[in-house]
Symmetry: none
Subunit: 198 residues, 4 copies
DNA sequence: AATGAATGAGGCTTCATTCAT
DNA sequence: TATGAATGAAGCCTCATTCAT
């Protein structure tokens, strides 16, 4: 029973992601979501109180997934450089996937600037990302790869700012073939920031 | 005559800006805009063909204003360092103004990932921003302040990515008192990127 | 299930007929139709994509009904004269019914002069009517009742023109008591046309 | 002053005719009419109380013009046959003109079935048309061209019914090249009705 | 547990009409 | 006289939500 319900909710959330990716946050309807999930509109309301509940759980779900992927990527590597590389590569996955995920994510960011609930969810995601940054930077300092006098927390935040800034700029340019340019440039810039003396 | 009409349109656009800032891009209604402007709903349609027209002109208007302010800021300064400083300060204006402007701007970015018209307008804004970056960097190289081997265009893009990334991260944290932290960190990071040898 | 939906659509179409009869084609609103049907406005949109869909289906429905009644009437009779009589009588049903039906029909004709969809539906109705005429005339020629040298198709068209012309003229006079006069005169005229030698 | 006003009203009515011909009775707006007349919307309201006033005066105007043309046509001829010919030819003027005039006229007929004012105006037009019919038939009887036992008034009405029925049927078929067929058939039918013995 | 029919609030838009200039 | 800016009522349509089955 409980299991079935969990599966159902997951099914709806997956459908919601697709639906939001296709139609946009404010254009998506519960009908879109139900259609995408291959269920009736009633089901959606049966498992979720209302539209906002679905969407906030969707935000939680996708930020969790992004973080998991990032975390998995760096765990597999040993050195700070390798981890940094893996991190950035796990963010710049592919034009198609980035487009889909970041479109949805940007929709949520826009909402989050007004909706405290979304903001909180996103903040949690930020904390996770900063955590990854701190881990890499701390290791790099220990290795002697990165500057000894780096402010770890500050650098982690700048690192994430760079990543988001690049990904958004890429997304807004609408040119898939620039994906590699932005990935490389982002990586270079972060490296410079972390290795620059003083 | 013509003048009056222009003023009216401006009045409506200003009201639209306030209304979008308050309610968000997808929750704003023409009634909100009319109320904010202190006019009847009919007036809005008298000066603008439809809702999308208002919103796209609003995007044009605010990106133009942001750019103008940035451009004005750097024009007043002489050295590359001063210009860079002025640029970042003109972006990080104040918590209140940044919040309002960037909320609206983020709404548009979210839309732009799907709407080509918005994307085009934003691209034009990007070009302007990159132009400012290029100007500063070129001057800095000439002065010898910045690294001689910088790729001017690439650096300009990374510069803007850093700025947007920081501003968005600040906005999403919902803490006004971090405004200064992000301004300073952003400036530092860009400086590092531009002055780091090789 | 399907049955229920069909009934609902029928209910709405019937209501639409009443509403158009009462308010006229261009003054009728979806609210009128919903009220007449005793349902909420939403129901109308649930079963019909939009207003035009309702109205075109209404045109199809009423022309089909008129034709069916006419066809049924002539089928029951044997001789050409009897059939002709029955045909005209089935058209000139009663002042009340004619008024309601032809008011609506005239609204559609007015629209049809510009709207190809309506024109097509009406043309189909014309073809049916001409078919009835042809059937009667062909039989009459075979019987020797009607002139041997009649152009069947042309005569069928003139027959219908006479019928519509009379009914419209009657409707426009606004005098119910002339209904019988027009019915008889119409019948006489058609008889004359079909029996006149040469 | 008075003269200027009359000219202005005429100008607006002519524009109204074009506008209704183009957009249809219920889709036409005062802006269409003003544009067509090359004047401002205010002018239209200055010379006409409201929209209905314009439209009813337009109906009067066009029925008067149709009648005048018909009357002029038969006046120029001597014999009943010639007059009848001229009459029908003056009605079936040309595909283009008939389309424009009858579209507008049909719009009014549809309205007239509900609006007493329009109905009255149209009735006056009918009387004029019947008058023409009576004149022709009476002459034909005197000449011995038409059947002696014709009921003049009734025949005049049937004559007009035939004309309107044919013109409407032609209009609804949407085939310009059938214009001649309907004109000839209409004339033949009327001739048959009027010459048939008994 | 699931469906989808029904509701009705609320949005965008059109347009006749008014009125200050 | 003439203009056209401004109003606001009213229409169509969408869609989250409810509820009987």
């Amino acid at each position: 029973m409980k299991k079935k319900a969990e599966e159902r909710k997951d099914q709806v959330l997956k459908a919601a992601f697709q639906a939001v990716a296709n139609h946009g946050f404010d254009a998506v309807t519960l009908q879109h979501i139900a259609d995408q999930a291959g269920v009736s509109k009633g089901v959606v309301h049966y498992y979720f109180q209302n539209k906002e509940t679905i969407l906030s759980q969707l935000l939680e779900s996708i930020t969790a997934k992004i973080y998991e992927a990032e975390h998995r990527a760096i765990t597999e590597k040993q050195t700070a450089i390798e981890k940094l590389n893996a991190y950035v590569h796990s963010v710049f996955l592919s034009p198609e996937k980035n487009k889909k995920f970041y479109r949805v994510y940007m929709d949520f960011l826009a909402q989050a600037s007004r909706n405290p609930l979304y903001r909180e969810i996103n903040y949690h995601f930020y904390e996770n990302c900063w955590g990854i940054g701190c881990e890499i930077i701390t290791l790099g300092k220990k290795e002697g790869t990165f500057s000894a006098n780096l402010d770890v927390e500050k650098s982690a935040k700048m690192m994430r700012a760079m990543i988001d800034g690049c990904l958004i700029q890429w997304l807004m340019c609408g040119q898939d073939d620039l994906h590699d340019f932005y990935k490389q440039s982002c990586l270079e810039s972060i490296s410079t920031l972390l290795t620059s003396p003083e």
